[in-house]
Amino acid sequence: MGKGILEVFIQYWPVFLQGALGTLKFAAIAVLGGTVVGTLVSILHLSKNRLLSGFAGVYVNVLRGTPLLVQMYISYFFIPMVIPALNSIDKIYYVLFALTLNSSAYVSEVIRGGINAVDKGQTEAARSLGMSAKNCMIRIILPQAIKNILPALANEYIAMIKETSLAGTFMCYELMYTRTLLANKYLVWQPLFIIAAIYLVMTLSLSWLVKVLEKRMSVSD
């Protein structure tokens, strides 16, 4: 069996810390990027323009219907191959690119559902006052939509935190990569439990944060 879990953690905590910071960074980029891109995709999806909504539909189907790991490989190897100018960019960004697009597809579907669930009368009232389509979406529809979809959105964010673990496959320094590092020191099983515990702390913290946010947003109920 060798060393105990606690012993390994005490000896190598800086390795885990750096891994955890890497994971947090990747997760933050995936969550923020995925939410921004996902919101835009959901708006395209709801557009009256068939070309735009069709594009959004294909985008979502392709990204949801193929494995994230495959998308990461394609992004990692194929993009620099066809666009050599991008070769100088750190490879991490190719992995993050795939992660962000993948998460945007899931987020866009959640947001689309949320927007659809807001009463049509809200749009009509805002537009009849002379509010622009953009302001109506940002100030009237999205705040109501997001309040309703917060639990579903939290699910997606939790999934994203966990999926950043795939980045370790590409030698990106995040939590899962610490396993590879420590396996070289013949520490095979101890790091796994430490890694799992750290993921759990992260996802539980996020759940808690969303609960607080839900409470704050429910002042109008």
Partner: protein, 247 residues
């Protein structure tokens, strides 16, 4: 202000279909400044659709809506700017549930007319006072009764300083004891000279406030005239039949 000779709203050969269902079959109407026009008629006759075409919430299938002389569907028309001058009040209030009463009123003037927040809030408080809601300024709509929501919706539209107000069955979703308060607010507006177009089932109210009554049935204006003409001496048999059922 506007030239008295140009109608505030004019519709020319207005048609509207939903799929194969023809709802409006050619409506030509002129509404002048200061007029109070009520629209009555059976359900499904096209009243609400007609009203909703006036600010292009429904896009006409053919025909044109002119607002103060400008074709609303023209590419060169800034629809948002014109809509700011066409207030609308809905059957189901459509107040913004995530905003306080005060914010419901101030959000559009601040966003679209770039009115300073303080000034917008001062004006909004005055409007709330006029409809007896000043103590509800910081409440969210959930805490308001139906009648209070509708009064809020009316002053929300008034805060844009519209030239005309459209009312789409403003009291149909209210409990009976709330109806009077809302009708009084609309009556006050009408008496202050605001141009009003009101779709309503409140016949007593229509008779009392209207300069002109339109009876819309089967997608056309089947009869129109002063309240006395339409209510007391209807010429069209459809009008007679309708009135005998509702009065």
């Amino acid at each position: 202000m506007t030239d008295k000779n140009i109608p505030i709203i004019e519709t020319v050969d207005l048609h509207k279909s939903f799929g194969s269902l023809q709802v409006l079959k050619g409506i030509n109407e002129k509404i002048y400044s200061g007029e109070v026009v009520t629209i009555i008629g059976p359900s499904g006759g096209g009243k609400s659709t007609f009203l909703r075409c006036l600010n292009l919430l429904e896009e006409p299938t053919s025909g044109t809506v002119y607002f103060e002389g400008n074709a609303l569907d023209s590419k060169s028309t800034n629809l948002n700017q014109h809509r700011q001058k066409i207030g609308m009040v809905f059957q189901l209030f459509n107040v913004f549930p995530h905003l306080t009463a005060l914010e419901n009123i101030t959000i559009t003037p601040i966003l679209e007319k770039k009115i300073p927040k303080e000034q917008a809030e001062k004006e909004a408080m005055e409007l709330l006072r006029q409809v007896g809601l000043e103590d509800k300024a910081n409440e969210y709509p959930r805490k308001l009764s139906g009648g209070q929501k509708q009064r809020l919706a009316i002053v929300r539209a008034m805060a844009m300083h519209p030239d005309v107000m459209l009312f789409d069955e403003p009291t149909s979703a209210l409990d009976p004891e709330m109806v009077k308060g809302v009708l009084n607010v609309i009556k006050g507006l009408a008496e202050s000279g605001m141009t009003c177009v009101i779709v309503t089932h409140e016949m007593g109210f229509a008779r009392e406030v209207s300069d002109r009554v339109l009876f819309i049935d089967g997608g056309i204006v089947a009869e129109e005239g002063t309240p006395e003409e339409v209510f007391d001496h209807p010429k069209n048999p459809r009008t007679k039949e309708f009135l005998s059922q509702v009065l």
